[in-house]
Symmetry: C2
Subunit: 427 residues, 2 copies
């Protein structure tokens, strides 16, 4: 069913018919959704709670921690980060033993970026872009200051704040470049790089690549092996539905693992940690990139969301995500553009992740009105962006329609004017 003219777009029957045809619709029931009036379009910041996670966490707390106590380490906790990493590998085009869960995205980024610089001695440059998540830039700035020795960071600017600067990157990546590190999908615009093309560009110059998959893992098909990518990190609390601040993951291509040195070489990276020897001896394989004891309760909570993504299949999820995104963009064009909104995401679905950014001079107050009056939860990214996240495991077409209808009402009826222009820290 395709819209033949714009008047269909806001027709509940149209959206509901799309939902009736949705072959992934059953997955919504796998999540805790207690408040059917709430339209949650922020699964790109914090995925919803899978029903099975509730049960699993209770078992980890009551039975495993409460009763098995220290024995839990011998009964699965010790291998849990690798076990879940192997499942994530199946979502991002990697092999078992190439992905492991650990620490935070920023800490993993630090470890892999430092390891990459050390693996390219004589080269001084990290190349990135200004669409990258700022935390990644802060980490690189810290590394450059820490290592000194002429290391530097080159931040290539996007031509329009939306699309990746492909020409600028091609010019910046040279024989002094040790590492090219980018967000695969940009946090604000959702621009998504052609990973294989950029990786090939970096490799031709002799540089390594480090991809931040935080906004693409579980949202778009990722093929790390197919792209010949070297390194990657990502978070598990967005499209992976791992819970607030859930531990992150990291990827190292298998043939690189033996040559990289983990700068934060804690006991989880030691060959035989329970020998308690005084000399550091890195573990074989990816375990050498671990550091400290993982937070088991938060770690365990990640698995059910990943299982749901694997069961649905990334290709099916992607097809639905594109269909829903195109529907939302059609609504933006037809209903919101006349009210002063502009699309701040790529129109080409092939270069777009699974969220849509729309800008409006009153974006901040409109966003507040959506949250506080309208039971719609998007999120806001400075200066004026409202992000609408599409999470095909549980987002419905009718939610998208209703969200746009409520957005229209907020702007047409100027319901945002009651809110202060002053911005709070968290959005």
């Amino acid at each position: 069913m395709k819209p033949t003219s714009n008047k269909y777009l806001l027709d509940p029957q149209y959206a509901q018919a799309l939902d009736a045809e949705d072959r992934l619709a059953r997955f919504r029931q796998e999540f805790v959704i207690d408040d059917p009036g709430l339209i949650y379009l922020d699964g790109n910041s914090l995925g919803r709670l899978p029903r099975r996670s509730r049960v699993l966490i209770q078992d980890y707390v009551d039975r495993q921690w409460g009763q098995r106590l220290i024995r839990g380490w011998g009964e699965g906790w010790l291998e849990l980060a690798q076990h879940i990493g192997d499942k994530i590998a199946g979502l991002v085009g990697a092999q078992p033993g190439e992905v492991v869960v650990a620490e935070s995205t920023s800490t993993n980024l630090f470890k892999l970026a430092v390891a990459a610089l050390k693996a390219r001695p004589g080269r001084s440059k990290i190349v990135t872009d200004d669409l990258n998540f700022p935390s990644d830039l802060y980490i690189f700035q810290g590394i450059v200051e820490l290592l000194g020795g002429g290391h530097r960071l080159e931040i290539v600017s996007s031509p329009d704040g939306i699309h990746g600067p492909l020409e600028g990157l091609a010019a910046a990546i040279d024989d002094d470049t040790a590492l090219v590190s980018l967000s695969h999908t940009a946090f604000k615009s959702a621009y998504t790089y052609d990973m294989a093309a950029v990786t090939a560009l970096a490799h031709r110059a002799g540089a390594l690549t480090l991809w931040d998959l935080s906004h693409s893992a579980g949202a778009v098909p990722v093929d790390l092996n197919g792209a010949n990518a070297d390194l990657a990190v990502g978070c598990s609390y967005k499209y992976l539905n791992g819970g607030p601040g859930a531990p992150a993951f990291l990827y190292v291509r298998r043939d690189l693992q033996a040559s990289l040195r983990n700068p934060i070489s804690g006991w989880y990276s030691q060959a035989a940690p329970f020998d308690f020897g005084l000399e550091y001896q890195p573990a074989a394989g990816l375990r050498r990139m671990l550091t400290g004891t993982p937070p088991v309760l938060a770690l365990a909570a990640i698995e059910p969301g990943i299982d749901l993504l694997l069961a649905a299949g990334m290709d099916h999820l992607r097809a639905k995500s594109v269909q829903q995104s195109e529907y939302l963009i059609a609504l933006v064009d037809a209903v919101l553009q006349p009210l002063g909104f502009q699309l701040n995401s790529p129109r080409d679905a092939a270069r777009r992740g699974s969220h849509i950014s729309i800008g409006h001079p009153e974006g901040w107050r409109i966003n507040r009105a959506l949250i506080e009056q309208q039971q719609v939860l998007p999120d806001f990214r400075a200066p004026d962006n409202i992000r609408l996240g599409i999470t095909p495991l549980y987002t419905t077409f009718d939610e998208i329609r209703q969200a746009v209808q409520r957005l229209r009402a907020v702007v047409e009826e100027r319901r945002y004017e009651q809110y202060s222009l002053e911005r709070s820290a968290v959005t």
Copy 2:
């Protein structure tokens, strides 16, 4: 009630009378103890589950993640690491704003040690001892390799594997020493440094101190401010009862905070992270030592255990810990020494934490028999140490008596002989 001769020591009435007199006995009821036959002497590796943690985690999962969703960040999650850190400060002799919860102990150690080295330019040496937890040594070895430039690690040897090498440290700490880093309480022997004396020694040489409190926080009174300590880290899953792998904490004395640079400068250390600016600008105060998004479920689980310690009071806990440790040592001397055990912890209570190590040539197999036959859970540390952890919030005198009785039976009746000499990874 004091034992007048050894025959009282194994008398159930004697131990039970001590329990009846115990003014902290009521705290045992605050923990989930479903299996009264199990004698848990490994609270020094993984503290028991507080009853209130069960309820709290369920609220974090069901209501906060499940219903409040992304709004949780504005409703407490964002400040949680500081909030819990302020409570830990009350356990370790620090002020609010000097302790924060973050990452793993090893990652925190990396951050603070690198920051300390950078704060002492021209000095090349980290001084530690061979009683320190090996992960700390691995981290320092990694830092020395990473920074190069003549940085080196000096590991001073304990004279007997039990006591801290005070003379060796005094000789090693010189005007080339940037940092002195030790475990306040040693993981194997429980030797506990005089923090004020060693800190003064370091300061006289112009070096900074970094204390690992993993085995002392919540176990012995710690007075970071009183000792004028500079830096500290510690884990929260041992005596703090925070749950398996619960996030760690770090301490920076207030007057040092502004001058230290966090090498892993992720967005949680940024002055205004939600402005998403491209330039790193460190936050004021201790927040600059954070890195990434914290694992909220594991973080939240820490608080109830800390509240129990604060309610009991460290001085009362210490008094009971010493009384129980002295009782255990008297039992070791009277009952176990004749069976080939030796005390591998200091006899001087003032220099001892809250666990007791006992060595036996058959320690490995005896430990297995305790776990698999005897319903006693200690832990084992190579080469031949059985560690018996005393956690005065819930350990009873009668448990100590029974544990020794079962230990005696295992050795006297050679019940350990059925186990293989081959050692598994986890103990």
